[in-house]
């Protein structure tokens, strides 16, 4: 078995880094940390974020959705000017216009683009179909890979109900296009009338009964308008998945130390491994500090002894009662946090064993919220053990 990967390997050598995990575990933060670290190590890095917290967005200079990366002034992420000459850019994914651009790319002419963009069904699909955001994140990634000239592309993934959804995302539209019924709808009009008429008509009647004819008309119009484009979309989806499976692409799973989140992360890593996409890094975020190594029971026993002393002291009189209560409180508090820490470490120990050769890091709760470059660098210190002095290896 080969050696364990390190986060340095990833930030120095990989071309694409995808951060996955369930919502609320700090994925966006981790993505920003990786991109900033890449830049400090001399790489031309870009981070694609999805709905970042406001102050983090401000830090990255993202006031609104954008479709093109925006470069962040070097003095912001490398105030000392000590790093090799890397670059850092960021963008906040605009799902709808990314989709619009994609349509324009594959449409035969402006007329076809126009017919699709104004179709009501298309508007639903491009804004509300579940998985579209994931799909467009992957699409944007591919576009930046093809045209951007970036060494390092870090992608945040949308908070999904099930973290695996995004892998399936590029296939979702093609699956929709592959549906038997819609293939019939897309046949050239005359053939469609002759060959498929009966089956299609029956389906349309049934569907109209449930959702009304207007909706069905929109759907039919959409698929007609889409004619000839599905090949382009299908090829594109295949290319995106092929890119993600390359060894220069790296997947990180971000988790919190809560039992359900850890379970989900392990499950996710195992599913990815089944698709021949090994997870290269596991980051457990917002871990409570350990506060020493004393056993919880002993600390609780001490708190109790002190509480007992307190009742003795009350009889004896004096400040002893106050002091004993105070010290007992401190012991109880330490016992509480030791208990949380033990419990969290117990949950993550199992995952570490299942992580194979992936790098594993624990990022403790910081004493402040993470939203500026200083705080991002502080998180980075828990991931990268060496300082960024060596210039990037040529890709």
């Amino acid at each position: 078995m080969s050696e364990r990967v390190t986060f340095e390997d990833i930030v120095r050598d990989r071309h694409i880094v995808v951060c996955c995990g369930t919502g609320g575990v700090g994925k966006t933060t981790v993505a920003a940390v990786f991109a900033a670290e890449g830049a400090r190590r001399g790489r031309n890095a870009v981070v694609v974020t999805i709905d970042p917290a406001k102050r983090l967005a401000n830090t990255l200079g993202l006031e609104e959705l954008s479709n093109t990366p925006h470069e962040i002034d070097r003095s912001r992420w490398d105030p000392a000017g000590s790093a090799p000459a890397g670059r850092l850019s960021a963008l906040m994914l605009d799902t709808k216009s990314t989709f619009d651009d994609l349509v324009a790319t594959y449409a035969a002419d402006d007329d076809q683009t126009e017919r699709i963009l104004t179709n009501r069904f298309y508007r639903n699909v491009s804004t509300a179909l579940s998985g579209t955001q994931e799909y467009m994140a992957m699409e944007k990634l591919y576009e930046l890979h093809e045209q951007g000239g970036y060494d390092l592309i870090v992608v945040d993934t949308p908070p999904t109900r099930h973290a695996l959804d995004f892998l399936d995302a590029p296939r979702r539209l093609t699956r929709l296009l592959d549906n038997r019924i819609f293939r019939m709808l897309m046949m050239p009009t005359r053939a469609y009338l002759r060959v498929a008429s009966a089956a299609v008509q029956r389906f349309l009647r049934t569907a109209s009964k449930v959702v009304g004819t207007e909706v069905i008309d929109d759907v039919v119009a959409f698929f007609r308008a889409f004619e000839g484009m599905e090949e382009g979309f299908r090829n594109r989806a295949t290319s995106v998945l092929a890119l993600l499976a390359e060894p220069s692409s790296s997947f990180l799973v971000v988790s919190s130390p809560r039992r359900d989140a850890v379970e989900e992360a392990a499950y996710f890593a195992e599913r990815l491994a089944e698709s021949d996409i090994p997870v290269e890094g596991l980051i457990v975020n917002r871990v409570h500090p350990a506060f020493g190594d004393e056993r919880v029971e002993e600390l609780r026993a001490r708190a109790e002894t002190l509480a007992a002393k307190r009742s003795e002291s009350v009889r004896a009189a004096g400040d002893g009662a106050v002091s004993a209560r105070r010290l007992a409180e401190l012991y109880t508090n330490l016992a509480d946090f030791r208990q949380v820490a033990e419990c969290e470490r117990h949950h993550v120990a199992g995952v570490k064993a299942r992580a194979g050769r992936a790098a594993v890091a624990f990022v403790p709760y910081l004493s402040r919220d993470v939203y500026d470059f200083d705080a991002l660098a502080e998180v980075g210190r828990h991931l990268f053990t060496t300082t960024p002095t060596a210039p990037a290896r040529a890709p």
């Binding site: 569907a207 449930v210 002091s323 105070r326 010290l327 508090n333 330490l334």
Partner: protein, 298 residues
């Protein structure tokens, strides 16, 4: 939170039905039971639970409306998948429609829907309104109208929003609250702030611990003193951050807040839920004579 609410209501003598719409939550585990299925199971005295998925809800609906043959064809041909892509919210309306049916037949005194997380919750609850506009005729329209009626009737339905006192969750909650009120006209119950650390004492220092130890004639090693102080400091810092966020929430959202404690124990099981339910009940009593609607969406 759903479990806490159910436990509270059950203690008050109400029968409760929990509806899980996402699957894979640790809900049943809170009651020490295996995961829920489409068939109702008893989770605790007076508390039952079940899941609801769009496919099952659709078949259910069509069968009770004498359209059994269509239902089979729709599901088999994959048309449901295509139609629900065509009509966003189709799946949500199927689920909410079934909840409405449960409400109408008075399946329990209180029906609690364990709804999706913030972003998804908005589209989940918005779907009937949007659908009613998009599909102007037929059963989907009828269903949407009925569901909107249920959601916007404060006597039948309230939404309980739950968050933790951290920046992003608070922002999401505020946004969700305004959207739900403005766009659906749904009645919001008190906001629940989960995982609040206990109030810390005054700042501690190594010097103080040494003095306390001397005074009480007990031995505290320097390492242990350091751990005591850093744990106390950690609590102070995190507590202050949490306070900031809870205050910010109060400033931006004029709704009563119920704060539930952070639990230091390993797992969330029946005893922990009882503790939370007691805290919750005490705070809600203090707020008002709150009259819960029959359908509550935490």
């Amino acid at each position: 939170m759903t479990a806490t609410l159910a436990d509270t209501a059950a203690s008050a003598g109400l029968s409760v039905l929990i509806v899980e719409v996402e699957g894979k939550s640790g809900l049943a585990a809170c009651f020490g039971r295996p995961p829920l299925g489409y068939e109702e199971t008893e989770l605790a005295p007076r508390v039952r639970g079940r899941t609801l998925t769009p496919d099952e809800a659709l078949v259910d609906y069509l069968e009770t409306h004498g359209l059994k043959r269509i239902s089979k064809r729709l599901v088999r041909s994959g048309a449901l998948e295509v139609v629900s892509s065509a009509v966003p919210g189709m799946k949500d309306i199927l689920v909410l429609g079934k909840v409405k049916a449960l409400d109408v037949e008075r399946a329990a005194d209180l029906i609690i829907i364990d709804a999706p997380a913030a972003g998804h919750a908005i589209s989940f609850l918005m779907s009937p309104r949007g659908l009613g506009d998009a599909v102007r005729v037929g059963p989907v329209n009828k269903q949407s109208t009925d569901v909107v009626e249920m959601l916007s009737d404060p006597a039948r339905c309230q939404v309980v929003l739950v968050t933790v006192p951290e920046e992003t969750p608070v922002n999401e909650l505020v946004e969700t609250a305004f959207q739900l009120e403005d766009r659906i006209g749904v009645q919001l119950g008190p906001v629940v702030v989960n995982s609040c650390y206990p109030e810390p004492g005054v700042p501690a220092s190594m010097e103080e611990v040494r003095q306390l130890a001397d005074e009480l004639g007990v031995f505290v090693s320097p390492r242990e003193a350091r751990d005591l102080v850093s744990a106390a400091e950690f609590l102070r810092e995190r507590y202050a951050l949490q306070q900031q966020q809870a205050d910010r929430l109060a400033a931006r959202l004029p709704l009563p807040q119920v704060r539930l404690p952070f639990l230091f124990t390993a797992e969330l099981g029946p005893p922990e839920i009882d503790v939370l339910a007691a805290t919750f009940a005490a705070q809600v009593d203090a707020l008002t004579e709150s009259s819960w609607g029959r359908v509550t969406v935490p």
